[in-house]
Structures are given as structure tokens and as C-alpha cells.
């Protein structure tokens, strides 16, 4: 599968999900349990993305390096209600600085 194919398939599914919600009768998904699980899905996925991107190396093994410190700094920034872009820049700057100093 080429990157373009993957990209177009993923984009088509994303649009299909949006359109389906506008076309499907609302009562089909009205069960509170279904709503709770679908609301929980982004939480599980985003947490898994943070964990794999920050705490695993190229071979998939657990590592603690500059990225873990960057996530720590991001959490502090979020606790201080920093906007999204500030959180991202602080994360990048933290890792860049630690690497420039040769500490991680």
C-alpha cells in the first residue's frame, strides 16, 4: 500500500463517518452504553499514542529519554492552562535542549 492510498482510504473513512452521522436515524446509537464506549475510545487511543511515542524505542522496548521529559513539561504547561501551540513548542524545545546538552 502506498502512502497516498493509505491517506486517501483513511480520509474517505473519516468523511464517511461524519456523513453517516448526518444520515443515520439518531435512535440507532442512543443506548447510553454505546455512547459511553464511543466517548471513551479517543481517551484510550490518545493515551496509547502518547505512551508508544514517548516511552518506546525503535524496537518497541520501553525507554526513558528526552521525549519522556518533554511529556512531563507538556503536562506542567497543561496544568498551567497553556494553549495547545505553547504546549507543543515547549515539548519540542525541552527535547531539543536536552539533546543539545547531551543529557538525553
Amino acid at each position: 500500500m502506498s502512502l497516498w492510498t493509505a491517506l486517501l482510504v483513511a480520509a474517505a473513512i473519516a468523511f464517511g463517518l461524519k456523513l453517516a452521522g448526518h444520515l443515520v436515524p439518531a435512535h440507532l446509537l442512543d443506548a447510553p452504553r454505546v455512547r459511553r464506549i464511543t466517548a471513551a475510545l479517543p481517551i484510550a487511543l490518545l493515551a496509547a499514542l502518547v505512551a508508544t511515542q514517548a516511552f518506546t524505542g525503535p524496537d518497541g522496548a520501553f525507554v526513558l529519554d528526552a521525549r519522556a521529559v518533554a511529556v512531563g513539561v507538556a503536562v506542567v504547561a497543561l496544568l498551567l492552562r497553556a494553549p495547545f501551540i505553547v504546549v507543543v513548542v515547549l515539548g519540542a524545545a525541552t527535547a531539543a535542549l536536552l539533546r543539545a546538552l547531551g543529557w538525553a
Partner: protein
Amino acid sequence: MTATVDPGARRAVVRQSLSVGVATGAYGISFGALAVAAGLDTWQAMALSLLMFTGGSQFAFVGIVATGLHAAPAAIAASSMLGIRNGLYALELTQLLGVRGARRVAAAHLTIDESTAVAVAQDEVRTSRLGFWLTGLTVFVLWNLSTLAGALIGNLIGDPRTYGLDAAACAAFTALLWPRLRDRDAVAIAVVGAVVAVLLSPTMPPGIPVVAAAAASLLAWRTPRREHA
């Protein structure tokens, strides 16, 4: 429906829509830069913002394909699962917007976190509709322009690690997750998802642990403790 909209409420919704649009436009820069750091070219980064147009799914897609093309199916699965919530927003919005045909297709494309949040926060149907369209269109224009700017900046940067762009992706996912951690159940689901993904990572191809960790959302099956609190 025939009553005129209070000019104060109208001004408030316009201000809200534009400020949400400008704020999300800023994420677009980080998305564009991260997309090219992940190995996409500028056209591919722009195609994602134009056609997929849902930030969380786009970040997930590029985050996973960054590990290589063999991870493409997992990238599609993760971005699609993150996109399910837009379908749920659409269920709420379709009654409110009352549109058909081509306008309904346009409304579907603009159905994202931000446009939904502004629309449902209004007291009146007319201001809700205005909020939806204005937020959706402002975010769409700025998100695409800033993706281009971010991709061009990303292309100027050599090794993404030197500027910490890999860590920027971690920070971006943390910032996307943060507002969802509203109660103990949400935190429990996040911790289980993270632990499952890290434990599976050494033995599974990249991306698959993230998709498998989605099973943590089944913890929401049981009734929450504070349902009527």
C-alpha cells in the same frame, strides 16, 4: 424561528467562532511540521488537512506512518476509530442544522470538535447554525493555510530530532488527551490504554499496540459511579 436574533448574541457567536478558528489554525502549523517530519511530502500533508479534516485523526495517522509504510493499516484503523466521535457529533447536529443535499455534505465535512462545541453552546437555533458554519469554515481555511506553513517550515528543518519534533508529537497527543481526562473513569481508561500499548510494543508491529489499546474503552461498559451526581 421567525424571531430576529438578538444582535448581542449574534456578535458573541461571531466572536466565539473566529477566536476558536484562529486558535485551531495555530495547531495546523504543528500538524504540518510533524507530518513532513513523519515522512509525508507537502502535498500529502495538505491532502490530509483538506480531505480528512479532523485534527486528532490526522495526528494519529502521521504519528503511526512515521514508523514506516508497513504500519499503514494500523494508521488507517487508529485514525478511523478517532473519527467515530465526529459521527456522533453529526447525530446531534443534523437535527439542529436542518440541511439537505449538497449543504448536508458540506456540513458533514465541517463536523469536528470545534464547530460542534460552538454550535451546541448556543441557546438559540439560529445562533447555533451561525456558530456551526462560521466556526467550521474559519477552522477549515486557517487549518489548511497553517498546515501548508507548517509543512514548509518542517521541510527547512533537517533531522526532526534536532529540534525535538518527535517530542513535539508526544506533547501534541498529551494536549489532545488532556481535556478528556475529566473524571476518574477517564483517567483509568487512559492508564489502561497506555499500559497495554507499552506492554504490547516489543512484540507487535508499530501501530498495532495503539489499535489494541482501544479495547481499554470497553471499561466504559459498566455504569459510571456518579451517573446522577
